[in-house]
Amino acid sequence: MNSFFEFFSFADPNIRYVVLGSILLTASSAIVGSFTFLQKKALVGDAVAHAVLPGVCLSFILSGEKNPLILVVGAFVTGWLSLVLIDVIAARSKIKEDTAIGLVLSVFFGIGIFILTMIQKSGAASQTGLDQYLFGKAASLVGQDLVVFGIVATLLVLAVYFLFKEFTLIAFDKEFAISLGIPVRRVELVLTTLTVLAVVIGIQAVGVVLMAAMLITPAAAARFWTEKVITMTWLAAVFGAISGLTGAYISYVAPSMPTGPWIVVVVSTIAFFSFFMAPKKGIFYKMYHQSRIKANINDENILKALYHLGEEERNFYQQRSTEDILTKRSFERTPLFKGLRRLKRQGYLDEKDGLWTLSLEGKEKGQRVVKLHRLWELYLTEYLRIAPDHVHDDADTIEHILTPELEQRLEKLLDYPTVDPHESEIPYG
């Protein structure tokens, strides 16, 4: 626990650098990654990440030192080369894009590993630290590195800021962007360059193997919370930053641990939480929404049954037992009682000694459902030429979904009819 406070007090300037650096790297990759994600090129990012390794190793061999600027240049060259190769292979041969991505990714990485091992075996004193590019080490972000990576990260964020509109449009509708006269090819080129740069600096914290996660996962998580690109990009940056901070902390307390995997696990946890819990789009939310709809349908069906009984006996406000309701429609017992109690709470029903009576609101609501049912039956027979004996099931579903606006259109279209195809009266309120 001590180390926790030590770390998060940020008293140590070294810690400050590392924290600042990690957050900058992960957040800027997440921002650029948002557009890679929207363009559905997430796996291309994976390929670039792997292809950066031979570039880093080669520039080390050529320069003989671990100068961050030279390594960035080397990584940039092979990262770009991999993208060009993927395009050429997919365009010039019958090989499909996914195969081209996997091929370039694995072969470039294989070459990278080959050279890296050669360097390690040669025993060059200054080689220590090159293998940090594999799984990342946030703690090694100091001095010169931080300056170089910090500048690149700032450039990335600025470029996204100024080209935001164009990036969004291209990701959304490329053809339309072309028709507007936006230089799509050049903007795409910029975006690709940004992706390569994001990978090149991001690997310092996460490592080449798992870099793809920094591009994809924060964006995928953010997508579940919003429909707006700007909000999504911000959220992705925040998610990236949180995981970057965690990475820096882990790097601090457990120096033997590679930080990349921890950063990825943190950001994946955020993503899974979003996939399940996010409002509107989350999986659990959808399940909850479905059960709400089911309950609502159940309740409307109870009101409908009571309305039918009232219609038959020409008395809507009579007390009725559950057995009476069951003569009109079969319900399972539990949903029926749950529904009855819910309707009572909402004021649609009154209860006395286990007998149920429609309230004024309850009668109106039941009447509306019956009206919609009969209107829809009429619509199906008149406009869809469906036989009157086949329209009931369909209307049983649609009666629960029609909005007041659709209701009005339906009435107007059918010219305010009075009876349905089975000669039952259509009740108007």
Binding site: F37, K40, K41, A42, L43, D46, H50, I89, R92, S93, K94, I95, K96, D98, T99, I101, G102, L103, L105, S106, V107, F108, F109, G110, I111, I113, F114, I115, T117, M118, K121, L134, F135, V209, L210, A212, A213, L215, I216, T217, A219, A220, R223, F224, S256, M257, P258, G260, P261, W262, V264, V265, S268, A271, F272, F275, K281, G282, I283, K286
Partner: protein
């Protein structure tokens, strides 16, 4: 003798990967293969921790399940969560792989695995890692038995299911219409890929196995228009990659698996240049004559 054993192990792994890879690339599922090969890592580590040894059968079974779980998860996020497929693949496999690497670091003392092994395997140790029976008889390198065992399983799978694999790959809608379950064959294939990646893991590591899954079939695909010939060519390429990769590594003192991946790329590049320029060459010769 040692060189021969290593080359043999490499060939067995490359052949198995290449055969399955043919179906992966034709189904446009190369990246799902990539995802599975990464995602089985935590399965391997956990199997290690539980069984305390490299007991292969448990590991193969466990990894087969994890591979199918990965495929299922990718589809689950895609279908239930409406996440686009590429992102679904990317999120799932990086997560599982990260867990695997963390487990390896955390149990570094207890698990006979390290990050290097994950990255490029330990094919150089094939001749040392012998299978010795309880009575003390030395039966030869353990990896050779596992690799040949898995190759046999995959061969049986492909021979018996040739017709179904062929049809569900080429025209899934028609396959479903005549009553062949596309889902069943999809998961069988993914299970086979999982078993293969696990069996190859010790030899070439989690990432370079992807090169062997994709590069030989892709090369063969450029050179032929017949599925059977494509699989035969993949097999030959696998052997060739193993031999040349070994000597490349020996020449530069690099890792053998890295050498194999490099050579796989070289052969693809040759085939690509040959097939894309040869027709044009022919044409230009013709026009010169004409």
């Amino acid at each position: 003798m040692e060189a021969l054993q290593i080359i043999l192990a490499g060939s067995l792994v490359a052949i198995t990967c290449g055969l399955l890879g043919c179906y992966l690339i034709l189904r446009k599922m190369a990246m799902v293969g990539d995802a599975i090969s990464h995602a089985v890592l935590p399965g391997i580590v956990i199997a290690f921790l539980i069984s305390g040894s490299r007991d292969s059968v448990i590991m193969l079974l466990g990894a087969g399940l994890i591979g199918i779980f990965t495929t299922f998860l990718i589809e689950f996020f895609h279908k239930r969560g409406r996440l686009q497929t590429d992102a679904s693949i990317g999120v799932t496999f990086t997560w599982l792989f990260a867990i695997g690497v963390i487990l390896i670091s955390a149990y570094a003392g207890k698990v006979d695995l390290d990050q290097d092994c994950v990255l490029y395997g330990e094919i150089a140790y094939v001749p040392i890692d012998l299978w010795i029976t309880k009575s003390g008889t030395i039966l030869g390198p353990r990896v050779l038995y596992i690799a040949s065992g898995v190759l046999v399983i995959i061969l049986v799978f492909i021979v018996l299911g040739y017709k179904e694999l062929f049809l569900t790959t080429f025209d899934p809608a028609y396959a479903a219409a005549i009553g062949i379950s596309t889902t069943l064959w999809h998961y069988l294939l993914m299970g086979a890929v999982s078993i293969t990646t696990v069996a190859s893991f010790e030899s070439v590591g989690a990432i370079l196995v992807v090169a062997l899954l994709i590069a030989p079939p892709a090369t063969a695909y450029l050179l032929t228009e017949d599925l059977k010939k494509m699989m035969i060519l993949s097999t030959l390429l696998g052997v060739l990659i193993s031999i040349t990769g070994y000597y490349l590594a020996a020449a530069f003192d690099g890792p053998i698996a890295g050498g194999m991946a490099t050579m796989a790329g070289v052969f693809f590049a040759l085939a690509f240049v040959f097939t894309t320029t040869a027709p044009r060459l022919k044409r230009s010769i013709k026009t010169e004559k004409g």
